[in-house]
């Protein structure tokens, strides 16, 4: 792994890598979550997970497992154990955003697409 200019991200150098990792007896491989970038400027999207002993090998696996059937320019792998999440049972906590009384909070409530289309139509040419 090499540090990139962005201190948050480690990039796998295609030329060399020095990390090594020894599995203790009985230890399982880790799972990694895989994020896929379709084109530059887009954002990485979660596409699945895989097993690997090291982040380097996770990237090597991810390339064929998730990058070969669709357009891909970059991948992230993140150890699953580094992902923090809520319990699914607490789903009701989010109810506020979708309750009918608070519809004004719903960003999709602001419908401008039609207006833009109309404007483009009247100003075309």
């Amino acid at each position: 792994m090499e540090n990139s200019l962005d201190p948050r991200i480690n990039r796998l150098s295609l030329i060399k890598n020095d990390g090594s990792f020894a599995l203790e007896k009985g230890e399982n491989w880790h799972t990694y979550e895989v994020f896929h970038l379709k084109k530059r400027g887009d954002h990485h999207k979660h596409v699945g997970s895989l097993h690997a002993p090291t982040p380097e090998i996770a990237l090597v696996f991810a390339k064929e497992q998730f990058g070969r059937r669709q357009k891909c320019v970059n991948l992230w792998v993140v150890p699953s154990r580094e992902v923090y999440t809520f319990n699914m049972e607490d789903e009701d906590m989010f109810a506020t955003a979708s309750s009918p009384e608070k519809k004004y909070r719903d960003a999709s409530g602001f419908k401008v697409r039609d207006k833009i289309a109309e404007y483009k139509k009247t100003h075309a040419g």
Binding site: L14, A22, L50
Partner: protein, 252 residues
């Protein structure tokens, strides 16, 4: 004469790709874990793709028969692949080492061809530059991981490379038209390729605490480029063409 030399070069490259691609594909469904199974199979498929591209050049520019005929219906003695690519898979340690040694050589060969005087080869080399990065990354990562892994993984890799290293030098067996290819700037030659290959694989092996074995017999893996093969090639070809030869004229 130059045409003959280029044809010979393309045939040996294509046959190497086809045969090692087929060998590596024999791991499909049997790979050590599903993720590696997918990766190794996918790289094998790419090799068959390279073979197809090269056979297509032979057909379109050099008037050879179509790729299917050339790949599936030629007798073994007309194949120019090196012995190293023909060897049965054995254990995964050997397959990994072969993948590492062969794919480094393959990558350098195509790098050289990017500045060849033969435009067909330049085009192909440029097209697959990116594709060739992955197998080398895959091989280097595994060699590094297993070389630095457990005592057993290290020992198995070291044994595998000790056993096959001399034979791997068959990749660089000189062809009949070696000097001609060099003089016409088609390809800088197997000797140049071999010395750059040494430069590339040595640091990877060192990083994996693996020793480059002493060479005992330089030429033990020679013969393939002249059509002399091990007993392992013909059964492989028979299996590969098993369905096609039932009725070669059938339309699919």
């Amino acid at each position: 004469m130059k045409k003959k030399a280029i044809k010979d070069l393309i045939y040996k490259m294509a046959d190497d790709e086809l045969i090692i691609g087929h060998r590596n594909s024999e791991w499909t469904g049997l790979g050590p874990i599903i993720e590696e199974d997918i990766s190794f199979s996918s790289m094998a498929q790419d090799k068959i793709g390279h073979a197809l591209a090269l056979y297509t050049i032979l057909q379109e520019t050099f008037g050879e028969p179509d790729p299917d005929t050339v790949a599936f219906l030629r007798p073994g003695k007309e194949f120019k692949c090196c012995h190293f690519t023909e060897m049965p898979n054995g254990e995964y340690d050997f397959s990994l080492i072969r993948h590492f040694l062969f794919d480094h050589a393959e990558k350098i060969r195509y790098e050289y061809l990017e500045s060849s005087s033969e435009q067909n080869l330049v085009n192909l080399a440029k097209k697959i530059t990116g594709e060739l990065k992955y197998p080398v990354l895959h091989a280097d990562t595994f060699i590094h991981q297993l070389g630095n892994g457990s005592e057993e993984s290290h020992a198995r890799l070291q044994t595998a490379i000790n056993e096959c290293f001399d034979q791997s030098l068959g990749i660089f067996e000189l062809g009949e038209f070696e000097q001609e290819l060099i003089d016409n700037k088609v390809f800088p030659g197997e000797k140049a390729l071999r010395s750059r290959w040494f430069e590339e694989i040595t640091p990877v092996l060192e990083g994996a605490k693996l020793k480059l074995p002493d060479i005992k017999n330089e030429e033990v893996g020679f013969g393939g480029r002249k059509g002399h093969h091990t007993e392992h090639l013909q059964p492989l070809l028979d299996e590969m063409s098993e369905v096609l030869t039932i009725d070669p004229e059938t339309k699919w």
